[in-house]
Amino acid sequence: MTKTKIAKAAKVDANAKVDANAKVDANAKVDAKQEMMAFNGDEAVAYAVKQSDVDVVAAYPITPQTIIVEKYSEYVANGEVLTEFICTESEHSAMAACIAASATGARTFTASASAGLALMHEMLFVASGCRTPIVMAVANRALSAPLNINGDQSDSMAQRDAGWIHIYVENAQEAYDTILQAFRIAEHVDVQLPVIVGLDGFIVSHTLENVDVLLDDAVKAFVGERILPNVVTHEGKTVPFKLDPDNPMTMGPIALPNYYFEFKRQQEEAMKNALKVIQQVHDEYAKVTGRSYGNALIEAYKLDDAEIAVVCVGSAAGTAKDVVDELRSEGVKAGLLRLRTFRPFPADEVKNSLQNVKAVAVMDKSMSFGGNGGAVLHEVRHAMYDATARPLIVDYIYGLGGRDTNPKDIKKVFNDLHTIAHNNRIGKLVNYVGLRE
């Protein structure tokens, strides 16, 4: 084997110009007219995918994401979309087919949850390692055993180190908006990573809401066509990164200890880039629609002067905002931080927004057994280590297996925080909401 056979398949040529035809024109005038639809979260996702000119959808049914693939199947059956829909025989094959389709140059989408996402686990690493910008909606659901079809975030939290971008939404409107943004983020030349959009099972996936949607042309202008970054092939040619018989490329090779590490380092760099890109895309979308979600990474609610605050991910933020409002009306300086982007983790934003708070309760809708708290606690506490002033931080595990968490429960958490702030010490680090013990 000669040196001429070197395949730099994974090296992106930073100087190579991106195909102008595939470029999204950020300055194009977009008709911001919107229509109001009655959608549940799943339907909102399916509608956003429909408008995004997705080439290949490969998926397998699982509650509570099934409505997404059912709805999309209707669009396919009625000729409303130009998409190859592969109804695979498992989620594992769904993700493999998505990776292969994406590697062939197709814009690719799938949806899953719970056991389905767990079955995909192996392939999630392959998707991010192959730099295939797949978008996946995850209708967050508990994992077996015991079997449970209801909502919690154990499924996607268990995939946090698989190299995917994770964005969690609060409601159906945000689910629609975020799917449109997700294609732009995933396919951005500086990112080229797959994206999970998490929506809480049933609470968001199955709850009917009013959702404002853009007209098809406006979405087309915003999302644009898939951008393929240029790479240098083993023949020394600079070509778009895809499986193309005219420009042969070896994708998904074996890399030994002499190269593997560099591949992983590049993924970390892409994650760093994603922090900026997620915000850019969100801001651009906000200009078009008038809708924004904090700074895209976090949403701080009445946090500026807050003495006690709750941190949560997903739909619980809606309930928590009501509780904050109520407490504020009573003169309590309560606030909320919603983590919208969980990967890449916005450590600086979290640190800056919480470092003047006295006591913080992190809400975890999943468990890390034996880990002294859930995944969100670990991340938040880690981010606060470098803060100039560190708040007292406690964890509240809530809502596992779909257990309802109501305003009264969250009010109790704030009451606890009040005591913690007053005593200047925490009781138990890990606490449980609404649990029989």
Binding site: M1, T2, K5, I6, A7, K8, A9, A10, D55, V56, A58, L82, T83, E84, I86, C87, T88, E89, S90, H92, S93, A94, A96, A97, C98, I99, A100, A101, S102, A103, T104, G105, A106, T108, E122, M123, V126, C130, H234, L243, D244, P245, D246, N247, P248, M249, T250, M251, G252, P253, I254, A255, L256, Y259
Partner: protein, 322 residues
């Protein structure tokens, strides 16, 4: 295009540039590497290859080198057929949208016996049921050779592997080979065939036929592993002849459900006295060494009985579907 027009002469094959390039890290006498090199000579135009994890994937794609002069994708062990589904679906829709230039691109999925009989069978079955247009080629070296010679569903009875060692109470693998070709025929696919590299023209013609099918096609190729079989690397191709002559591995085609023996096996059916005993094939392979002992005799007898039974059943299927 008829078989005659393909003109797979030795000269044609020699003159056609290699697609599976030299410099890969396969062992001396590797059956699968020979098979891949020859199979790729039978391709008919733009082709995308996807491979399951396994020997051939590992020896041909060690970054930053590659032995593939066509686009090639590997994702995981059990995913060759699922990958092919995704590639085919993407090509189809991107062609419709004017984003693929080629009139047609063939998709070939390669997997070893582990990636076909065992971990990959679900994805294969699903992809065939969905009717994707691709050729799945099983290179069968009868074990997990890449991980150090463990038994698979494709390992034959009596063979010693590292997970079915020849011990004092167990004499190699206790079970017969899974009838993978029958399983694929049961999918009612248009084209299923078996081949060995000794009968190389027959093998290449089957590759071409499989590619020409509009829909899924399955080709089972016998590919010895000298390391795993503890056999002489110089005799790799010879074993693929003996396997046919002893009817351990008959070569045949099943076209739209109709069974037909290919010439080498047909000649044995016509002149049964030419059929060699399985011992002719087994002897010399270190993996069967322990069977050539008084206590191993009953295993050899069982291998012979099973081989005869399978061969009789195959001939019956040929008659029944004629």
């Amino acid at each position: 295009m008829t078989t005659q027009e393909w003109k797979f002469t030795a000269k044609d094959i020699a003159l056609k540039p290699d697609i599976f390039l030299p410099g890969h890290r396969a062992c001396a006498g590797c059956g699968p590497a020979n098979v891949l090199r020859m199979v790729m000579k039978a391709t008919r135009g733009p082709t995308i290859v996807t491979e399951a994890t396994g020997c051939m994937e590992v020896v041909s794609s060690i970054y930053p080198y590659t032995s593939w002069s066509v686009p090639w994708l590997h994702t995981a062990f059990e995913t060759a057929a699922a990958n092919a589904s995704g590639i085919e679906a993407a090509l189809k829709i991107l062609k419709k949208k004017g984003k693929v230039k080629q009139d047609h691109v063939d998709v070939i999925a390669f997997a070893g016996d582990g990636g076909t009989y065992d971990i990959g069978i679900q994805a294969l079955s699903g992809a065939v049921e969905r009717g994707h247009d691709f050729l799945f080629i099983l290179y069968d070296n009868e074990g997990y050779m890449n991980t150090g010679i463990q038994r698979s569903g494709g390992t034959p009875m009596g063979a010693a592997t590292t997970t079915t060692p020849a011990g004092t109470v167990m004499l190699g693998k206790l079970q017969h080979k899974k009838p993978i070709t029958d399983i694929m025929v049961a999918h009612e696919m248009e084209y299923v065939a078996t081949a060995t590299p000794y009968y190389w023209r027959d093998m290449l013609q089957k590759v071409r036929k499989g590619l020409e099918v509009e829909g899924p096609a399955f080709l089972h190729i016998f590919a010895p592993c000298p390391r795993g079989w503890r056999s002489d690397p110089a005799k790799t191709i010879e074993y693929t002849k003996l396997a046919v002559e002893s009817c351990v591995f008959p070569v045949y085609e099943v076209v739209k459900g109709k069974y037909e023996l290919s010439t080498p096996s047909k000649l044995i059916a016509l002149a049964p006295q030419k059929k060699k005993p399985v011992t002719e094939y087994l002897k010399g392979q270190g993996r069967y060494r322990h069977l050539f002992t008084p206590q191993g005799k009953h295993v050899v007898d069982e291998i012979q009985r099973w081989t005869d039974d399978r061969w009789a059943k195959l001939q019956k299927k040929v008659e029944q579907t004629a």
